[in-house]
Amino acid sequence: HRPLVQYILHLADTALILGHRNSEWCGHGPVLEQDIAISNIALDMVGQARMLYQYAAEIVNTTNVGTAATEDTLAYLRDATAFKNLLLAEQQNGDWAVTILRQFFCSTWQYYVYTQLAECKDARLTEIAAKALKEVTYHIKWSAEWVIRLGDGTEESHQRLVQALELLWPFTGEMFIPVAYEKEGIAEGWAAHIQSLQQPWLQKITEIFQEACITVPERQWQQTGGKTGIHTELLGFLLAEMQFLQRAYPDSEW
């Protein structure tokens, strides 16, 4: 079950790390209502991560008798090279434009991934995906509206959105390039066929970008590595903060 576990961790880590970044906004948002909205998305992300980690832990514990993996050992006791989240998820919040665009890209990806998983051959993943799908549908709506608002807002907001796009675009390609464990999953029917998702993803992005008066970048070089544990320099710092208590006070109940 190793590839399946890796795949679940890839989904879980992406949700957790993106949730972590969003949660950094809590108390610091540009508008009170949006502070609530972004925290809410963070909460949804953490919730999805938990369901996925719990499932991964069960498989691990069933496969390797004697191990006691839990959602928390998986989240708190792996170092950066074991994390499999999309590089996009770990990018810094930057300004509101970066946060919004990161969310829009990720949510749209999650939407198509979960839509496929909701019909996949793994019953548990089907369940989780169906549940997550409802939340993600709202996340796309919310972030797309903000993309439009910023792109078609003031000159400054348009400029900031364009800069955010420049920063984040090279991290989107990774979404649609399957790594080893995904290929196995695609073959066995428990992973989303991500190559086929690039087109609908791009279409949705293009559609919203049109309303936002910005253009989809030309094909360009893309960063990869997140799914196999080769991250940007940012993840190590994020984990140092996130994991501190579990690391400093091992074997404690919280």
Binding site: S23, C26, L32, V46, Y249, S252
Partner: protein, 317 residues
């Protein structure tokens, strides 16, 4: 009735426990007192997000992270209800922010203390939310309708938060020695500031009588404080910790716990801006507000554009 003044009609309603609503006549002093109190309360929710928010990224388990995130988000929601209630009295949210950022408006001094360990999140839930509830429950029956209704929603969530805080401390109390020390240390640091949340003693609280007559207030500061001490003195036993007050002990005669003298110098100092985090808290809020200016402008500009486009489309049709 024809012979009654506005003032008398108003007080009569209040006396009969009929809610005052935004369109009703009310004394200007009543309105101003409410604006001050409700906005102060709203600001406290917003500033109060910061000390606990400080631990969201470091919460020690996913479950705790989710609970804490939801809690801090609830506080934002409370801020929202309360700003709306205050707005019914003729002040805008931006005006209230302006008063907060300029230092003109107050917020609860408790949030000028730092959260230094994870146990502080527990202590805030148990003690700070506990004291807040004690203050707030009577406000659910206060005379101003929008405020009373907002408080009903707030109180429901707050008591939930308090239980969560207590549960964090309970877990720590059953944990390792390091965890127990962490929890006791947090209680030691938060106890006295929590006690001070009820405000100055009755003898130093000149507005209490008027507020009680208007039914904005239903108990005096000292009454509520005593009730809080009585409850905490019992609950701390369940935790197996102690409260940092050597004079705390049950008094059979009064049927209450006696407790030590409050250091009002510290209280006044923190109120005057000299708490450990006054500058940090306000700076954080000002920064959020200033950094967010372009976002709010963009949203407004976009709404305007849409409106114009729709108007143009209609005109063309």
């Amino acid at each position: 009735m024809a012979n009654l003044t506005n003032e008398e009609v108003f007080q009569d309603k209040v006396d009969q426990e009929i809610r005052i609503e935004p369109k009703d006549w009310m004394p200007e002093a009543y309105r101003q007192t409410l604006i001050r109190q409700i906005s102060q309360h709203a600001h406290s929710e917003i500033i109060g997000m910061l000390p606990e928010g400080n631990w969201i990224t470091r919460a020690p388990s996913l479950k705790r992270k989710a609970i804490l995130l939801a809690k801090v988000q609830d506080e934002a929601g409370h801020g929202l209800y309360l700003y709306s209630a205050a707005e019914t009295l003729g002040i805008t949210r931006d005006q209230m922010y302006e008063q907060l950022h300029s230092g003109q408006a107050k917020y609860s001094s408790i949030f000028n203390y730092p959260t230094l360990t994870w146990a502080d999140v527990g202590a805030i839930g148990w003690l700070v939310d506990g004291a807040a509830i004690m203050n707030q429950v009577p406000l659910c029956r206060n005379s101003y309708g929008p405020y009373a209704r907002a408080m009903v929603r707030v109180c429901k969530e707050e008591s939930f938060h308090q239980r969560q805080g207590f549960e964090i401390l309970l877990t720590l109390s059953r944990g390792t020695e390091a965890q127990r020390n962490m929890a006791q240390d947090a209680i030691n640091r938060w106890w006295w500031p929590s006690i001070m949340m009820f405000g100055p003693g009755d003898e130093a609280s000149p507005h209490t009588a008027q507020s009680m007559r208007w039914k904005i207030k239903r108990f005096t500061n000292d009454e509520l404080r005593q009730k809080f001490v009585d409850i905490c003195a019992e609950q701390v036993k369940i935790l197996g910790f102690t409260l940092p007050d050597e004079e705390l002990k049950w008094n059979d005669a009064s049927g209450h716990y006696d407790f030590g003298a409050i250091d009002w110098t510290e209280f006044n100092n923190v109120i005057r801006g000299n708490g450990p985090c006054n500058k940090q808290r306000l700076d954080a809020r000002r920064k959020a507000w200033n950094d967010g200016a372009w976002v709010r402008e963009a949203a407004m500009a976009h709404t305007e554009k849409r409106k114009n486009r729709m108007a143009a489309a209609e005109a063309a049709a």
